[in-house]
Symmetry: C2
Subunit: 323 residues, 2 copies
């Protein structure tokens, strides 16, 4: 069944007026897209981006250059259309849905206590699943993005706990910490993993203890996307932390992921290894918001347009290779 | 003067609602674009692509999988809108100008005699300069692309002669040769360089002897673009061969180049080293036609949209970093 689909996709690509394989990664992207949809004639009509925001109690530990208030301020900026993601979304015809997963109240400071209660975590997972069902009814490819001052700390803690890394191996500059700031951030993470005894803990326990509201809701979104076979474009380090949670809880969710770009955030390389993800772009970006996801979705759309709209050797009366 | 411009660009980027430097390569692309234009408030309105086609006598030596006739057939495909470049151009709002630089008659077989006469070569260089003047009046960023069965052989010969490489170091599969085919192609190139005594020859002599009509006309275009300060997006291996000729003849032309992508064609890495070019994309493409150039232009346009259209910290009432 899958082999038949792969054969049909290969035959369509090889009928197009170009040397075989000469569109490189674009040919692979179209194939992967068709495989997720289970349909060699799959098409992308509308693109959406789900942009999750949440506040993080861990900001009390001085792990970010920016004050926590910026999360709420950026929510207003998203609504007003002034953020990077808005500019890119307008240019690419992507609808952005901004979701307040817990701004204001925010998570608790996980240096002291678990970030969320079990109920708070379960609520976000469920809400994310509901979002994905909505998205599947509206879009043929959907990106996820996030905003939350402090959330690279949460993402690094998740990666360290699940992947068995020391914090020093996965902690990066976030919005721009200096070396001393990164070392402090890593100490905060190591201390929290120790305090809450997270080595060997369940994924759900890790998420609840050091995760964020936006990360939990994205994880729910990604698991449901896996169930629905909705193709999803991941953004950078934080969306990949949600993806790591999703894959550990529901391994089949991995099958619907595209990896848009390799982030400049330090732990992203290891995160991609954990997820076996090969990003499309490497532009040194580290903004989040889904900015990389939009660029990645654009390239998948390019791939699908080429796949469907190029002339065939026959229709264009072009001679095939002599090999 | 240039420092003032750089300061103005940096100040504009740093006023935008994002951590400093977090858009990575996109911030650099906007800076490079403004530097070429000499204007911190430069804008891109229209994008164009000049697509040069030429036939190659060297095809008589069996160095390509495709028959020479495909060049003319693909010209018709470009005009009908069925080629990869057409699909991408429609998606990105890029105007394509297809230029027959010498299809049909074609160059002579440089395994036997020089590909062009001095007059033929000079004509193409001049025609390319005229094209660039036209382009500068219509577009703020222009891509170059090419089509010509046999032209990876010509491009590899140019690189070997100018860069002092053996053919084996720079000869690749083109449209899909097997190992034996690549070895034959390299032998043809080495023999031609020897026969015409091209080691140490002038760049103009190299171009005339082993170049192609489309490569010569692109070289003229690129030199004139340098004079006019018209930003140009290069495509892959063959457009870079034209760029190498241009830079050797008029070094200042280098200042207007963007490198869209790292081609899968074998010699492109060395070509990029010769040109000190750092491509934006690495998608394993090896099609030509300007397909990579369109994707590269798109990312420069993304960069300029972000640079101009994002809200500032002040206008969006977002707090700046505390560092």
């Amino acid at each position: 069944m899958k082999q038949e689909l792969l054969n049909e996709v290969a035959a369509q690509w090889n009928s197009r007026t170009k040397p075989q394989g000469s569109l490189g990664r674009l040919e692979e992207l179209a194939q992967e897209y068709c495989v997720i949809r289970g349909l060699a004639q799959a098409r992308i009509e509308k693109l959406g981006l789900y942009l999750y925001a949440g506040d993080h109690g861990i900001t009390e530990e001085g792990i970010s250059l920016y004050p926590k208030a910026v999360t709420r301020q950026m929510l207003a900026n998203f609504e007003a259309g002034g953020a990077a993601v808005n500019v890119l979304a307008r240019q690419h015809g992507v609808e952005v849905k901004v979701i307040d997963a817990g701004v204001g109240e925010g998570t608790k400071n996980f240096a002291q206590v678990p970030a969320m209660t079990e109920a708070e975590c379960a609520e976000r997972l469920l809400a994310g699943r509901v979002d994905a069902r909505e998205a599947a009814g509206k879009y043929e490819l959907v990106g996820v993005g996030e905003m939350g001052i402090g959330n690279t700390t949460s993402a690094a803690a998740i990666l360290a706990a699940i992947g068995g890394y020391s914090a020093a191996e996965v902690t990066g500059r976030g919005t721009g910490l200096d070396d001393a700031g990164v070392q402090h951030k890593a100490r905060v993470i190591d201390a929290a993993l120790e305090k809450h005894a997270l080595k060997g803990a369940t994924t759900l326990k890790v998420l609840q203890t050091v995760g964020g509201f936006e990360i939990a809701r994205m994880a729910g979104f990604l698991m449901e996307a896996g169930t629905l076979k909705l193709p999803v474009m991941l953004d950078g380090f934080i969306t990949c932390a949600a993806a790591l949670v999703a894959v550990k809880m529901e391994p089949a969710s991995r099958d619907v992921f595209f990896f848009s770009h390799r982030s400049a955030e330090r732990g992203h390389g290891r995160m991609l290894e954990e997820l076996d993800g090969d990003p499309i772009l490497d532009l040194g970006m580290r903004l989040g918001e889904g900015s990389g996801a939009i660029l990645g979705m654009h390239l998948v759309r390019c791939a699908m347009n080429l796949y469907h709209d190029m002339a065939s050797f026959e229709s264009a009366s072009v001679s095939r290779s002599e090999a």
